[in-house]
Every structure is written in C-alpha cells, then in structure tokens.
C-alpha cells in the first residue's frame, strides 16, 4: 500500500510536524501557471491597449494562451486539497481575512473576462464560420455566436470598444491575480523566507517575463509547425519586453534577498546555511546564472550586434526557454525552499520528490502540459494567426 505521507529528512532541530511538507510541487505549479496567464495577457494588452503594432501577430494568440492556461490554474489547487469536493466552501462562505478565500472570486472573474474578450475578438470569425459551415462544427459556431450575426462596421466599432475596455480591465485583473499569489506567500509571518513586502511585486515581474517567454516559444513553434515565416519584428519586440522586465525582476529579487541577509534577523544563521548549501544549485546556478543572467547576456549581445534572421530567432527562443526555466525554479525555490527552512530557525529539511501520486512530479507536469494541449485544440477552432478583424485599424 502506498504510504499516506512522506516524511522529509532533516538536520538540526525542526518541529516534529514540519517533517511532512504541507505544500508539494503542485503548489509550485500553481503560481507558475498564474504567472504565465498574467504574462501572456500582458503581451496581448501591449497590443490591444498600448498599441504596440509589432506585437499584432501574437496578440490574439496571447489572449487564447492566457485563457487556456487560466482554465487550468485551479487544477493544481484542487488536486492538492484534502477535500476537493469542498472547494466551493471557500466561495460559498469566504473567510474574508484569508488571502486564499478571495482566489475563487478573482479566478472566476478573470476567466469570465478572458472568455468575453476572446468572444469579442473572434466574433467576426465565429459569425463567418457559423454561416459557412454545416454539421456539428457549424452548430458549435452557431451556438458560439450567441445569436449575434451583426458584423457591420458599426457593430465592429462597438466590439472594438468592448475589447479595449476588457483589455484595460484585464491588466489590473491579471496582475492583481498574480500579485495576490505573491501576497499568499509574502503575508505569512511564520516563515522569514516568504515574509516580504516585495513578494507580490517579484511574483508579478517574474510572471510577465515567464508569460512573454512562453509566447515567444509557442509563437516560433507555431510558425514552424504551420511552415510560416516568423515575423522577426514581432519576435524581437517580445524579446525586448522580456529583456527589460527580466532586469526589473532581477533587481527586485536582488534587493529582497540582500535585505533579508542584511537585516539578519533571528534565524539568519540557518538561512545562510541554507543559501550557501542546498540552495546553491537550484538558486544561484539554475535560477540565477543559467536562467536569468545567461539570457540577459545573450539578448544584450543580440540587440547590441543588431543580429537578424535565424540567429536572432534562435537566440531569443533559447533565452525564452531559459527564462521559463528560471521562473519555474524561482517558484520552486520559494514554495519548496521556504518549507525547507524549519520554523524553528534551527534546522533544515530536504524535500524528496515523489514521482507518482497526486502530489508527484508527473501530476505536476501533467498540469503544466494540459493547458498547452487545450491551446493546440482551441487554435484549430479559433485561429489567432491572421487578423480576425478585417476592419481593425
């Protein structure tokens, strides 16, 4: 029989109950997914709201990516709950002093917002397909029109206003959603590793870079799969965004880490033991050097040299992959790392991965891959590649 729990080995003194980690890799995946949502939405908004024309080729794709990812955001939480069937208790009787109680509302609101914006953006295409197609797919499109077949210029103008408004509301919603995730950790006073006012902002900036990086990778992958030429101006635009935000993220993390060490409050000895021991590989080497400094150097070089063509594309994609990995490691180092430092301030625990089981690596990986599978299906029904609004200025 599978053991009911896994106890982690420790050194020094840890409270007996701490040997079973409350939060597993699933809770690493949860902020990772919400971060990708917020980041992808940012890219979409850069076009829809801020008029970054060069991002037009990915704007709608970014919106669909955000939607598909968001649909799966609650899954790691549900998988992790002891009683997932009671999950709605948090929405039916929210305990208003709890950061987590508000999640259901923010998430539900944001999913609705994304669906609405997607509907407006793809409405002309949906109407066209509803009129052209027969059979079950035609029926799906006809239902998706919600009875509205008006694609006149006047209606389109109306739609554009809605899209703009939703995109504007979506910016604080997406960033609020992710900033709130940072607050879930940063507001806890029980762990020095988490307890930081900067946590929400750090989560936010890492979210933006991870979402942009994901779009870079998915966009290039989609071009390759569809045998379409990559719009290098667009790709470079996303590269710039990632590069700039990455520097912000690094500065913020540096400031937070520096302050933690410099303040040197109670328990700092064990934190230093952690930082100079078990954290060297996951933090300094993987998250910081490989995942953050390397892409900054690569991108800086590419932009400085004015590299074009395939080399630029490869450079940006490799950087994006590294950034995605870095942000995943950041989530890991926060969620798991925080629990590896005992609340006693006198001991360290070592997280042991589970492969199978609902809190295992495979489950977590499945949760990350599932939205991408959904996205690959959704783009068949709502192709974001060409501009679905012919009249769009």
């Amino acid at each position: 029989m599978e053991p009911l729990f896994q106890a982690m080995p420790f050194t020094g003194y840890v409270y007996p109950n701490e040997t079973v980690f409350a939060w597993s890799v699933l809770i690493v995946v949860y902020p990772y997914l919400t971060g990708l949502v917020a980041g992808a939405f940012t890219v979409s908004s850069l076009y829809q709201v801020f008029g970054f024309e060069r991002l037009r080729p990915v704007a709608h794709f970014a919106l669909l990516s955000s939607l598909c990812l968001m649909i799966f955001v609650p899954t790691p939480l549900l998988l992790h709950l002891g009683h997932p069937e009671r999950a709605f208790n948090a929405m039916l009787t929210p305990h208003l002093s709890s950061a987590m109680a508000i999640f259901g509302y923010i998430a539900a609101f944001y999913v609705l917002l994304l669906m609405l914006e997607t509907w407006f953006v793809f409405r002309p295409y949906i109407v066209q397909q509803a009129q052209a197609r027969r059979g079950p797919f035609g029926l799906i499109y006809r239902i998706a029109t919600l009875g509205s077949y008006d694609v006149s210029e006047r209606a389109m103008q109306h739609d554009r206003k809605w899209i703009f408004a939703l995109a504007v509301i979506g910016i604080p919603a997406a960033h609020g959603l992710h900033g709130y995730v940072g607050f879930v950790f940063g507001s806890l006073k029980s762990r020095e590793w988490w307890s930081s006012d900067l946590m929400p902002v750090i989560f936010l900036f890492s979210a933006i870079i991870s979402g942009t990086a994901l779009l870079i990778v998915l966009y290039v992958l989609s071009c390759w799969l569809r045998r379409v030429r990559i719009d290098l101006a667009c790709l470079k635009g996303m590269g710039y965004a990632m590069w700039g935000f990455l520097m912000f993220a690094l500065v913020l993390e540096g400031v937070e880490f520096g302050a933690l060490v410099y303040r040197g409050r109670e328990g700092i000895e064990i934190i230093m033991e952690f930082v100079t021991g078990p954290l060297v590989v996951p933090f300094f080497i993987l998250q910081f050097t490989v995942g953050a400094v390397t892409p900054i150097l690569v991108l800086s070089y590419l932009f400085w040299r004015g590299t074009i063509g395939t080399r630029l594309a490869v450079g940006i994609v490799v950087s994006a992959l590294l950034v995605m990995f870095s942000v995943l490691m950041m989530r890991y180092n926060v969620v798991i790392g925080g629990q590896e430092i005992a609340k006693t301030g006198k001991g360290l625990l070592a997280y042991r991965f589970e492969l199978f089981g609902k809190d295992g690596i495979l489950a977590a990986a499945a949760v990350v891959v599932a939205p991408l599978v959904l996205l690959s299906i959704v783009v068949q029904f709502l192709p974001p590649w060409h501009d679905p609004e012919p009249a769009k200025a």
Partner: protein, 274 residues
C-alpha cells in the same frame, strides 16, 4: 472515542459555521478585510449539556522547570485524540535542550528525533535516549509544546473557509466536516502546532481536549503529568490553577514578536527555546 472524528463530532461546537453567518451578515454591509477574523465572537453557543462557553476563558501553563521529559503527556494525547502513531504528527510534543560544557548554544531534540525513536524501538513509543551520557552536560531542561490557542491566531486569519475558528471560551478548533484541507493554516502557524491528518484529509491540532474541558475535566496531557508541569484552568476563575500560576510567576510566551498573542504561558524558558 470514535476513531478519527475527534474534533468534528466531539470537540468542535456543533453549531459552528461562523464563515457562513459572517458572509450573510456582511452581504448588506460594506466588506471590510479582517472582519471575519473575529467572527467567532458573534457565534451562537454550542449545544453542549451544562456548558456555557460565555462563562469560561481557558488558559494553559507550562512550568518547564518541573518537566522531567517522561513523555506521558505525548502518549496520553495520542491515545485520547486518535493522533497517528508515527513520529510526524503531534498535538503536543516535548523538546529537550542540552548545553554541553564549552558550548554556547543548546542542542535540541524532541521525542521525534531518529536517535530517540531508535532508543524507544518504535515511533509509537516515546522516550528520550541517553545520548549525552558520555558528554559533560552543563545545563539541560525540557520544554513541552502544544498549540498556543493564540488570541490573534494566524491560522484562523488565513483559513479560506472559516473551518478553523476561535471559540468564545478561547480555544482554537477546526471543524473537520468543513475544512477543505488546503493546509494554509499549517503554513501560517509559527509554532508548527498544526499538521495534516492523512486519514481524514483535513488539518489537525491540539484542542486542549475541548471534549473534556467542556465536561469539567482537564486536558489529557495535564491529567497525566506526574510533576504538574502542565497547568490548565479558567482564566475567569481567579482561584483556578492557571490564574494562580500566572499570578505567582513571571510568565513568558513563545514567539511573542509574531503578534499572535499566545495563551500558553511558560515559566523556566531559556534564550535558546524556540
């Protein structure tokens, strides 16, 4: 006692749903943050025969100078409350602090330490191994630990459903029929007092044996302590053991800086006690 339903059936006041009531009462009003944290104060009295929770305010004392580390309290608690019999789930535990000659900080372990388990022969048996017998011990003492039933409990603050709440008589309990098992409260507790009950898939913790104290009995750990290192009573009763304990001693609490305002009062702590 019915296995595995300790708090839901017998300890948590049965009428408790502060979150729900709180939500309804707030529907008409402006939603303010932090309001729900004090929801329990407005909760109706539980249907416990001959018990009025408005008449009591429970408190707990630990005289660390008396504790001999016999661990009968740990054993009694596990039995009384059906706590899993392994080395990773405790509603109460005992820490041993040992200063060896020439060392400036204490060596700390609890009954859950692998060395002590090896000495007892089983995770379900509790014993402190004589691990320092060949060293020169300068100072050594034991510190019993348990949930502090804080006045401002961080665990209650973060609970998304209101399943864990503070009763009017000052006890932090969990409604096992309403807890979703997110373990946010486990993270929030600075004392490591909470754990996940793998059998019921909910979080679990000390209730000061609410099912006993509401019948006029002592918590099991207090009952079995052979040296009266654990003290329990009603703070509203000036003649109760706890009131006298606080009055007669200079008491301390653990991690005061957390702002949780613990209600377990200690005598005989040391700078090393965490």
């Amino acid at each position: 006692m019915t296995k595995g339903t300790a708090m839901a059936d017998q300890q948590a006041p049965p009428q408790q749903k502060p979150g729900r009531r709180n939500f309804l009462s707030l529907l008409g009003a402006a939603v303010g943050t932090g309001v729900a944290a004090v929801a329990a104060e407005a909760a109706p009295k539980p249907a416990i025969p001959n018990y009025d929770w408005g008449e009591h305010q429970w408190g707990y004392g630990v005289d660390a100078t008396k504790c001999i580390g016999c661990l009968r309290c740990v054993e009694a608690c596990k039995t009384e409350n059906n706590v899993a019999g392994d080395a990773h789930h405790f509603r109460t535990w005992v820490e041993r602090y040992v200063y060896l000659e020439g060392e400036t900080s204490a060596r700390i372990d609890s009954q859950a330490d692998p060395v002590n388990i090896a000495a007892s022969g089983s995770e379900g048996k509790y014993r402190f191994a004589d691990r320092y017998k060949d060293a020169k011990v300068e100072k050594a003492f034991f510190v019993p630990k348990l949930c502090n039933h804080c006045t401002h409990p961080a665990c209650v603050q973060v609970c998304p459903t209101g399943a864990t709440f503070k009763t009017a008589d000052g006890v932090v309990v969990i409604d096992h029929t309403y807890c979703i098992g997110c373990q946010y409260c486990v993270q929030a507790c600075p004392y490591g007092a909470r754990f996940f009950n793998e059998e019921l898939h909910v979080t679990d913790k000390c209730t000061w044996c609410y099912h006993r104290i509401t019948k006029g009995l002592n918590p099991a750990c207090v009952e079995v302590c052979p040296v009266s290192a654990r003290i329990f009573g009603d703070l509203k009763d000036k003649q109760s053991p706890i009131s006298k304990f606080i009055k007669d001693n200079r008491v301390q609490v653990l991690k005061r800086e957390s702002g949780n305002a613990p209600n377990v009062f200690y005598v005989g702590l040391d700078k090393e006690v965490i």
